[in-house]
């Protein structure tokens, strides 16, 4: 389990002091895939660097697996209940138990794939033969056996990230930190890296903390998510709940970014023909959730309330195995019938938002 509590990190810049991470508390269960999403500058990168103390937090406590609890005060780190100052060596020891991968892979260009993966194993007291066996295991794990003598410049982005993952796992960490690991990859490579991460999570019980600015990544593999804005965590929970019922504005923006329905706002703004409503017509946005999708609500209301529905946009996706989505449509009929229909929808767990009345 990873427990972060009241973590703070500020940077003193010329323009003033920046709260990169402000009073962040999070609990991440073992074996979870935990996403942290936020726009650039939200502090998510700093937060993840605080977990392996690449960035020394100003204050807060941190417990990862059995290491710790670590207490940070005035940019110094102490371990245990009686707050013993932590030495450089212990810090390095602790970092070895946490793997990390990066947006730009950060492989050594002058080393082969083999040597890159062997990097964390060398000078750790392991024999050459044991290192070789372990590297071969890892090459097998990330499916790059045939590239062991290649140099990073000879690999594709996806392959480089696989090497980086193998390297990060060399010391058998229980936790893997991923700092925008798919942001520099094309969609296909992104998909393959994400499925590799998912399978590592399942096979090795690896806890993965990943930060990203892409909703698609969160939707693809995360079980829990924290939304960050200006150094603060503004919303947490399991991915479905957070994105089905976003409470904060920023969360809504992320949901919209990955949702075809958000296009209606642009259409409205541009006064498009598609969303023009005549007399007696109402433009509505319906959002379905776990309990409502699947019911034939559309045909039911058009039958029972004598209204007609013209679908403008529709999108339903599957999040954690449950459908989530919605529809933008123009509803037409007697005003009383329309009101009744909308009320009925609300009673059946469909969120209804009136965008425009004719």
């Amino acid at each position: 389990m990873i427990e972060i509590s009241h973590l703070n990190k500020t940077f003193a810049l010329k323009e003033g002091v920046v709260d990169a991470v402000h009073d962040v508390s999070l609990t991440i269960q073992d074996g979870d895939i935990y996403g942290v999403i936020g726009y650039s500058g939200a502090g998510k990168s700093t937060l993840v660097r605080c977990l392996n103390l690449l960035e020394m937090p100003d204050s807060g406590t941190l417990q990862i697996n059995k290491t710790g609890p670590l207490t940070m005060e005035n940019g110094k780190v102490y371990y245990g209940a009686n707050k013993t100052p932590m030495r450089e060596k212990q810090l390095n020891q602790m970092r070895r138990s946490i793997g990390m991968i990066f947006q730009h892979f950060n492989l050594l260009d002058r080393s082969t794939v083999f040597d890159n993966i062997a990097y964390p194993l060398k000078y750790s007291g392991m024999s050459r033969a044991d290192i070789r066996t372990r590297v071969f295991e890892l090459l097998e794990l990330v499916d790059l056996m045939d590239k062991k003598d290649a140099y990073p410049s000879q690999l594709s982005g996806g392959q480089k990230q696989r090497v980086a993952i193998a390297r990060a796992l060399a010391n058998r960490p229980k936790v893997l930190l991923s700092d925008e690991a798919t942001s520099a990859l094309d969609p296909e490579a992104t998909e393959s890296i994400l499925s590799l991460l998912r399978s590592l999570n399942e096979k090795l019980g690896l806890t993965i903390v990943l930060i990203t600015h892409e909703m698609a990544v969160i939707k693809a593999i995360c079980r829990h998510v924290a939304v960050m804005e200006e150094g603060r965590v503004v919303e947490t929970g399991n991915v479905y709940d957070v994105f089905a019922h976003p409470k904060e504005n920023i969360t809504r923006r992320f949901v919209a970014s990955a949702n075809a329905l958000s296009r209606v706002d642009k259409l409205l703004k541009d006064d498009s023909q598609l969303v023009s409503v005549g007399k007696g017509e109402t433009l509505i946005r319906m959002t379905f959730s776990k309990d409502s999708v699947g019911d034939a609500v559309i045909s039911q209301i058009s039958r029972d309330f004598n209204v007609s529905l013209n679908i403008v946009l529709a999108s339903v996706e599957v999040l954690e195995g449950a459908p989530l989505g919605g529809m933008v449509s123009i509803i037409k009929g007697d005003p009383k019938d329309v009101t009744n229909a909308l009320n009925w929808l609300k009673d059946h767990f469909v969120e209804v938002e009136v965008l425009k009345r004719g």
């Binding site: 690449l54 970092r95 990066f102 050594l108 260009d109 002058r110 964390p120 390297r167």
Partner: protein, 235 residues
């Protein structure tokens, strides 16, 4: 052969033992001061990289000490440095003349230049690689040797080549403190005695020196890009 050489450069042949000695002096100065400057400059360059603000072991005092030393000695023209350092040289090696006396100013003249070059070569190592190595638990020494120096090898070879070539230029001035070498041979036996063939041969010799070094440097830099200097086999 001997007759042919005597025909085109009579004075070089006449002074051939002096000429050979001069060559030996130049090589000796280059090798000795080169090795010293290489070690000190590399160490200084590493210290500047590691101790700078935001480096892996920030240490403003050590950084500024070396920084000021480098700036100070880089701004003194070498011929002035030669005579300026005479008291120090005498204190350090017991004499201020001859090859031995030239070594100290040569090192002082070369180290600041080389330090800056090494610093630039190390600065070209991507910070991300350093961060990744830190995340894998590498300590300061690991970061220096396994990341900075390891990744910068081709660049270090390039800057070392440039430095050695500029060192040749410095050794030719060492004649001013009686260290001999090709430079003083060209002036004393060539220019002063109006033997143009001696000057020409000296130019030619230096040209060959520079060409060979540059070729070797470029070759090694190319060879070490993307591969280990000595390739290991994991079969």
């Amino acid at each position: 052969m001997a007759e042919f050489l005597e025909g085109i450069m009579p004075n070089v042949v006449a002074y051939q033992s002096r000429f050979i000695t001069s060559l030996q002096q130049t090589v000796e100065m280059m090798v000795k001061s080169g090795i010293l400057a290489f070690i000190i400059g590399l160490a200084f360059g590493v210290i500047l990289t590691v101790c700078r603000k935001g480096g892996i072991r920030p240490n403003i005092v050590l950084y500024q000490l070396i920084n000021i030393f480098v700036n100070l000695f880089r701004s003194i023209p070498f011929i002035i440095l030669l005579i300026f350092l005479i008291p120090l040289t005498r204190a350090m090696v017991g004499t201020a003349i001859g090859v031995k006396g030239a070594l100290v100013p040569l090192v002082f003249g070369c180290v600041p230049f080389y330090t800056r070059q090494v610093e630039a070569a190390l600065a070209s190592v991507d910070e991300g690689k350093v961060e990744a190595a830190r995340s894998m638990g590498s300590g300061t020494l690991g970061l220096i040797f396994r990341v900075y120096l390891h990744e910068a090898v081709p660049d270090l070879i390039r800057v070392t080549t440039i430095t050695i070539i500029s060192l040749i230029g410095l050794t030719t001035m060492a004649g001013a403190v009686g260290a001999g070498g090709i430079g003083s041979f060209a002036i004393n036996y060539g220019q002063n005695q109006n033997h143009q063939d001696i000057v020409n041969v000296c130019v030619l010799i230096l040209l060959v020196f520079v060409c060979v070094l540059q070729f070797l440097g470029s070759f090694l830099a190319r060879k070490t890009t993307n591969r280990g200097l000595f390739r290991k086999n994991h079969q």
